[in-house]
């Protein structure tokens, strides 16, 4: 450490710290420590180039409590490590930072054997931190200013000399007597240690340097944060175009980069796999039952766009009751019960209510917003159908199922988003919804 006396200081404030006795052999040092302690001194310390064994009892040093600090921190870290993994992988409803609960490789979301390695590592990491920082903390280091550094001879304390220090604060310390005692105990040399208070002053350049570093440390994260929060309309920069637009083949698409490429082993049309043979049915997708999968009686399908003699579109024979197909095990696929109703209500709330409204009057938020925009001339929106319209109320369940599956007028098809069972559940819920509204109308009519 470079310490220069500050020129602005008027008068050095010097404090007598104690005596430093020098020895050239660890055994002599330990013997001297023993004697000094027997003489009644307590504020004593030794400075040695390596840990001298046997010096702890000679100086009356008690065992440090560092192990207990480490144990406490370690146990805490173990608990945190296990909780963290439970929180991150086995919960998903704690706000504001929800966990991420997902199934992977068939393991339970909360699987202790798989959590042990990370819990162990976290325990070790924080125990090591506790050991490292605890040791420096208990030793009151770093401390860059120390009156001992003023003594030229003390430089050998880290090489080959052994020092014994008696503090002037010791109750039985006496400036002359203590010195004589130390010499008697075999010290090669005894030095007076003074503490020049100005030593504790920091070098002058440190303050501005610290300010500069601190501002840089704040500036960079601020800039990063700014860039994240900005709404910039310019197209994003592509640092690595190869990664953003990869020449890779995707199934069932024509890859322009690969079509006809030199040395390509792929098909001439640029595809990476052959399209399916017409009429191919994926495993488990045969779906023979018309009532269950399409909502009409078996075999009553009509050609799309077919009309009768008067030009009205032909319709299949819609089923009027919930299909009673059974699965391979002989259990009914659909069971009209409370659970199905609850499911229907939930799915209705997700998929239908935004337009049709929770009560089914065609006044969902999306529909209302669309109408507003239409009034302002910003959009062309047809109000969603009220499900209590007599036309809808009279429809067979199969027809409603068909509407959900394939859409009607401006409503899009939902068959790819909602499973067959859920579509039937929605139908059930829609029917229930209609029934409640009818009854309300009937009940209130006489009063009006």
């Amino acid at each position: 450490m470079a310490h220069r006396p500050s020129p602005t200081r008027t008068e050095p404030q010097v404090k007598f710290v104690g005596y430093l006795a020098e020895f050239d052999d660890p055994h002599r040092l330990v013997a001297a420590c023993d004697q000094v302690r027997q003489a009644g001194y307590r504020q004593i310390d030794a400075h040695t180039p390596f840990p001298v064994h046997g010096i702890d009892p000679a100086l009356g040093i008690r065992r440090t409590r560092l192990p207990f600090i480490v144990l406490a921190v370690g146990l805490g870290a173990l608990a945190v490590g296990i909780l963290l993994q439970w929180y991150a992988n086995a919960t998903d409803d704690i706000r504001p930072f929800p966990g991420y609960k997902f199934l992977i490789s068939g393991k339970p979301t909360w699987s202790l054997p798989a959590n042990i390695p990370v819990a162990f590592e976290i325990t070790v990491l924080f125990s090591a931190f506790a050991t490292f920082f605890g040791m420096w903390g208990l030793n009151k280091l770093p401390q860059f200013s120390n009156p001992l550094f003023r003594i030229p001879r003390f430089k050998r304390a880290t090489s080959d000399r052994f020092f014994l220090m008696i503090s002037a604060d010791d109750p039985i310390f006496d400036a002359t007597q203590t010195r004589q005692q130390l010499e008697r105990f075999g010290a090669l040399n005894v030095e007076r240690v003074d503490h020049d208070q100005s030593d504790a002053e920091l070098p002058r350049f440190l303050k501005p340097l610290a300010w500069c570093l601190a501002s840089i440390a704040i500036l960079i994260p601020t800039a990063v944060y700014r860039s994240q929060a900005m709404t910039n309309e310019a197209p994003r920069l592509h640092f690595n175009p190869d990664m953003d637009w990869q020449d890779k083949s995707k199934p069932q698409t024509v890859s322009p980069a690969l079509a006809g490429a030199e040395g390509s082993t792929l098909f001439a049309d640029g595809r990476v796999m052959r399209p399916d043979v017409p009429g191919t049915v994926a495993l488990g997708e045969l779906r023979l039952s018309d009532p269950l999968f399409r909502g009409y009686e078996q075999g009553t399908a009509v050609e799309p766009g077919a009309t009768d003699e008067e030009g009205n579109p032909l319709e299949p024979e819609w089923v009027t009751a919930f299909p009673s197909d059974v699965d391979d095990a002989g259990d009914p696929v659909l069971e009209v019960n409370e659970a199905m109703m609850a499911r229907g209500q939930r799915q209705y709330g997700i998929y239908c209510a935004p337009c049709h409204g929770y009560a089914g009057y065609g006044d969902g938020l999306v529909s209302r917003r669309g109408l507003d925009l239409t009034v302002q001339g910003l959009a062309a929106w047809n109000q969603a159908k009220s499900l209590h319209d007599p036309m809808v109320v009279d429809q067979a369940v199969g027809k409603i199922f068909d509407t959900i599956s394939n859409g009607r007028n401006t409503m899009g098809p939902y068959r790819s988003q909602i499973t067959v069972e859920d579509r039937w559940a929605i139908v059930l819920y829609v029917k229930a919804l209609q029934a409640t509204q009818e009854r309300t109308a009937a009940a209130t009519a006489p009063a009006n």
Partner: protein, 468 residues
């Protein structure tokens, strides 16, 4: 007391009644300080140091260029292709992590077993550990492709993303294990160095050195109270580092062994990987220290006896690894699983036979030369053997990773792995990174743990020789 009488003591001679001295050449305390300090204090390092540093920096530059190419282009620049998606990068990762293990073994496990001969070599070995972990972390770091999203590997709460790492994945365990390992090793290394940096501080003549070493030594005065806590902290860190070092390569082995792939899924993997790691790490320590002790005049501190002991560890762990190869073969037959048996036959006699037999001859046969005292006490012969061991251990990881992936369960998805020039340059470049760091360490920091060596010297209170 400064004695410079150069006594030539051959401390590799056995006498069970007396512990062999660990410091030769008649050095006393001041002598040890001088010998270690002159490495960093000499105004000019040996010319060969500059040459080696130049070569290392060139290789490092090559590594940097390749990493840039990889990041801007994508991981397709590597040879990782279906079905071998784990190619050289993972091989390099496992190789480098393994190298690191010897450092912790020397600094922690040998400390707990009171093997005093560790004191002259532990500092350099710990430094090597940290540099090896740096090299190791590099490969999975760039393997993720989008390096700017690397922080996703850590459990950081994000409101908009609502995503957390998958704690059930062994690859995430790796993140925790290797980063914990790097951190704890660095703490251990730095803590061990503080008293020696204080020595450098007290000897420093020029103000810049005094300032830097003064800052790094944290104001250490060698107070007996500080030494007491320091020693307790040292024991605790050693006790923490011991299971930690076991866990690191164990978890690396889990990357492979939790899968269902023949040749990867076998329960011996954890201890077998750890033994292999120690094996390769010791070989690397010997490879580094033999030239270092010549170059920096440390022959009286890092004696032939130290090197001989390390060579014994190498032959012991090498034989353990050889045993594990044998048991794997036996169980592949005994288990009666056709895929498993086929995989092992394919390793030895299939299209990767060259890699397999390179591995066996370097790992199992080469260290057997250390049964001969002549070879294990000759510095240059032992370096040759150790380089072979390192080559063999790289091939071991190659054999495990690539042969199992190249032969999938279905013959239609079999393939053959070929590395690209980028793969090769990155492996060579990682050695540039490693040697650059090591050469800088040798020049500017205490290469030998001065205070620990003094504590086991015969004039010291504590010990007389290599072990109790």
């Amino acid at each position: 007391m400064a004695s410079t009488v150069d006594q030539l003591i051959d401390n590799s001679i056995e006498d069970p009644a007396r512990r062999a001295p660990l410091v030769t050449g008649g050095l006393d305390y001041a002598g040890v300080t001088d010998v270690v300090s002159q490495v960093a204090e000499s105004p000019k390092p040996p010319r060969i140091w500059y040459i080696l540093l130049g070569i290392s920096l060139l290789l490092l530059a090559m590594l940097g260029a390749n990493i840039g190419h990889l990041i801007f282009t994508g991981v397709g620049v590597w040879g990782n292709r279906s079905p071998v998606f784990w190619g050289w990068p993972i091989v390099n990762f496992v190789f480098w992590v393994g190298i690191g293990h010897a450092g912790t073994l020397i600094s922690a496990i040998l400390f707990l077993f009171r093997q005093n001969w560790r004191t002259s070599i532990n500092r350099a070995a710990e430094a090597m550990t940290i540099f090896a972990v740096v090299c190791a972390l590099l490969f999975p770091g760039i393997h993720i492709g989008r390096v700017w999203a690397a922080y996703w590997l850590f459990p950081i709460p994000t409101e908009h993303l609502a995503m957390w790492p998958n704690f059930r994945s062994p690859l995430l365990w790796d993140v925790f294990a290797v980063s914990t390992y790097g951190t704890v090793s660095a703490l251990f290394w730095f803590m061990g160095m503080v008293p020696d940096i204080a020595t450098f501080r007290d000897r420093a003549k020029d103000p810049v050195r005094r300032f830097v070493y003064g800052l790094l030594s944290l104001g250490w005065t060698g107070s007996a109270r500080a030494w007491h806590r320091y020693e307790v902290a040292y024991v605790i860190l050693a006790a923490l580092a011991t299971p930690l070092v076991l866990s690191v390569h164990t978890i690396v082995s889990f990357d492979f062994a939790v899968s269902m792939l023949p040749g990867w899924h076998t329960t011996i993997f954890p201890p077998y990987f750890v033994a292999g790691a120690i094996f390769s790490g010791f070989a690397m320590v010997v490879t580094l220290l033999v030239p270092a002790r010549e170059l920096f005049g440390l022959k009286h501190l890092i004696t032939i006896r130290h090197l001989e002991n390390m060579n014994k560890v190498i032959v012991a762990t090498g034989t353990m690894v050889g045993f594990a190869y044998g048991i794997e073969f036996f169980i592949a037959w005994y288990g009666g699983n056709a895929n498993e048996g086929e995989t092992f036959l394919n390793r030895a006699f299939g299209e990767y036979y060259w890699a397999y037999w390179t591995m066996v001859s370097c790992n199992v046969i080469a260290p057997q030369f250390f049964w001969f005292k002549k070879i294990r006490t000759n510095p240059w012969l032992m370096v040759i053997v150790c380089i072979f061991v390192n080559i063999g251990m790289w091939f071991e990881r190659f054999v495990i990773t690539v042969t199992s992936l190249a032969r999938d369960f279905i013959p239609s998805s079999w393939g053959y792995f070929s590395p690209t020039p980028v793969d090769v340059m990155m492996l060579i470049g990682s050695f540039g990174l490693f040697f650059t760091l090591f050469l800088l360490f040798c020049r500017f920091l205490p290469v030998v743990a001065i205070s620990e060596v003094k504590a086991v010297m015969p004039t010291g209170e504590h010990g007389e020789g290599e072990s109790h």
